[in-house]
């Protein structure tokens, strides 16, 4: 009931205490940590080398099915490679690509957003037009085009995804700069004689950092999904490297004969993206003091 009673906000609590309240958010955060650990500890955790062929054990189903053995817990593929090990190792690529892209887009997006937000005028108009055009461009097509231009490979896919997604951060930062520059404390700083650059750095950046950081898990999720789709189609990560998307793409023909090659890599991908999204949604609310009252709605 707005305006009747002022309910105390939970804004006094530090983040780690807040998250304990939300079981889903906590679970997804833990899952993400587990995945990262899995990626880091892959050589220890994976029972086999992911590129190792076992030609006598081709297309074995998971251990609990007929013909399966406990040696290859999640089965093997058409060349006898262990499914579980490949899934574990794929996490490295899937995660690193996503992290790299988010890092790049964060930096570029922030710089561009700051610049256009502060400089305004023609620069701003120009920028808005460019982002409109980039955003209207069908996503997969653009990525595919960039990959076609630069040739396949890890760096290419990272660049392609960055080219596609830098606009998100740029727009967010620009929006925040625009609303911040009208605030009194910024105007006061300028009156006191600081240069625009100085005002930007000392006053705007701190206010921007928190919401930006809060967006990171969501962006990670989105990037992972895009990389997986592109790799599935064959335009992304190339063998001998593996990513979850590539694993599913490579197993397309085996849909009827060896579904485990599709089910489990896909599930790893899905659960990771889901965790990123759940955690990211929670973080976005929790990091914004104004919206903390919404936690739990």
């Amino acid at each position: 009931m707005s305006g009747v009673v002022k309910l105390p906000s939970s804004s006094g609590l530090p983040l780690y205490r807040l998250i304990i309240r939300d079981k889903f958010a906590l679970a997804s955060a833990l899952f993400l940590v587990a995945i990262v650990l899995m990626a880091l500890l892959a050589p220890i955790l994976a029972p086999f080398d992911p590129t190792e062929l076992h030609l006598r054990d081709v297309l074995r189903p998971p251990a609990w099915q007929e013909r399966g053995t406990s040696l290859y817990l999640l089965g093997t593929d058409g060349l006898g490679r262990d499914n579980l090990s490949r899934i574990i190792y794929s996490s490295r690529i899937s995660l690193s690509v996503a992290l790299a892209v988010v890092a790049i887009t964060l930096v570029i997006g922030t710089l561009v957003g700051l610049m256009t937000g502060v400089l305004r005028g023609r620069v701003d108009q120009c920028f808005m037009a460019i982002t409109d055009a980039v955003m209207a461009f069908p996503g997969l097509l653009m990525i595919m085009a960039v990959v076609a231009v630069l040739g396949g490979g890890l760096t290419t896919i990272i660049i392609a995804l960055s080219v596609r997604y830098w606009t998100t951060y740029a727009r967010v930062v620009r929006g925040m700069v625009i609303s911040l520059r009208e605030t009194d404390f910024v105007l006061a700083a300028q009156v006191l004689g600081g240069s625009q650059w100085h005002a930007m750095r000392t006053h705007m950046l701190p206010n921007i950092v928190s919401p930006l950081a809060a967006l990171i898990p969501l962006e990670l999720g989105r990037t992972m999904l895009a990389e997986a789709s592109v790799s599935f189609l064959g335009f992304g990560v190339q063998p001998p490297m593996t990513s979850w998307g590539l694993l599913v793409g490579g197993a397309r023909d085996y849909i009827a004969s060896a579904p485990w090659l599709i089910i489990y890599p896909g599930m790893a991908l899905f659960l990771t993206i889901l965790s990123a999204n759940v955690f990211g949604s929670w973080l976005r609310l929790a990091a914004d003091p104004m919206h903390r009252g919404r936690l739990g709605t």
Partner: protein, 308 residues
């Protein structure tokens, strides 16, 4: 007032269109030389030159771009390098399939998404709300290609309910439409739910109760319209996406739409077709944005007075 606004919007749209054309033009030219894909590896330089000329690829980039723009204005987007049809015809042939799929998927997504979103918002934090929130989260996080393959495996191969791919009957439509609807269901449900929750907290809702109205009437008559704006915005984005970006789904299900056309064109570096597809995407985005903006005016009378 409205006229000025429209003119301004059209102007911006044209700029976007122009920029996108330049982008795709540049990208496709950088993608490689289609000629080498057309002729044998050991073909003579002369043959290559001839092919290039035939395809209109012999001028400078600026010349090519100007040609492209001028022809485009007349509705001619050039001929496909590979097929013997004009790219415009190729696009038009592929459109109905994409539009049909998009329409069905959109209908499902909106009906389901809005309904579960509204229902969840009326009892926040109840088990129903948790279920809906989980479904939407899952929907938004779902890799299309994975769920598509899984559905094929279960429904088509396993149960034999629907054909595995292709088009031609209503049954063929079922799986692709479902797969395409999953993410929009999630995002629309999320937006609907949070928008409704916001509105139900509003003062005018208290007034409505104080007048003696009951909840179903209040939701229907008072709240839905107010909650509509974010939902329409999201709906517009998702619909535009359905009409331009179903590449993965169309490829997996071998659905003869624009997505599949684009995918093939990318693989063969068929410039004119790629350009045409991008043009189509730009058009859809622009039209969709315009429609969404117009709907704001209908939904919220306060926006009618504003001059942008």
């Amino acid at each position: 007032m409205l006229l000025r606004y429209l003119v301004f919007r059209v102007g911006r749209a044209l700029v976007t269109l122009a920029l996108m054309s330049m982008m795709v033009f540049g990208l496709t030219r950088l993608m490689g030389d289609p000629v080498s894909l057309l002729v044998a590896i050991d073909a003579s330089e002369e043959l290559r030159e001839q092919t290039r000329e035939r395809l209109g690829l012999d001028g400078s980039l600026t010349e090519q771009f100007t040609d492209f723009v001028l022809s485009a204005l007349q509705g001619d987007f050039g001929n496909s390098i590979y097929r013997s049809m004009s790219s415009r015809d190729l696009l038009l042939d592929a459109l109905p399939a994409t539009l049909l799929l998009a329409a069905v998927a959109a209908a499902i997504a909106i009906l389901v998404g809005v309904s579960i979103g509204v229902v969840a918002s009326l009892k926040p934090r109840s088990w129903l709300d948790t279920v809906v929130s989980s479904i939407s989260m899952a929907g938004v996080s779902m890799p299309e290609f994975w769920i598509a393959l899984l559905l094929i495996f279960w429904l088509a191969v396993g149960l034999g309910l629907v054909p595995t791919s292709g088009s031609g009957t209503w049954l063929h439509l079922v799986m692709p439409a479902i797969v395409l609807a999953i993410r929009p269901i999630g995002s629309i449900a999320q937006v609907t739910r949070s928008s409704m929750i916001d509105q139900m907290r509003a003062d005018y809702v208290v007034t409505a109760y104080a007048k003696g109205l009951k909840t179903p009437t209040i939701v229907r008559r008072h709240v839905l319209k107010n909650a509509g704006i974010p939902v329409v915005t999201m709906g517009g984005v998702e619909i535009a996406d359905l009409m331009t970006g179903a590449i993965v789904v169309e490829t997996i299900f071998n659905w003869p739409g624009v997505g599949r056309l684009a995918s093939h064109a990318m693989q063969t570096i068929d410039y004119p077709v790629i350009q045409t597809v991008v043009f189509w995407a730009a058009l859809i985005t622009i039209v969709m944005n315009l429609l969404v903006d117009l709907s704001y005016a209908w939904l919220d009378p306060r926006t009618r007075q504003e001059t942008r």
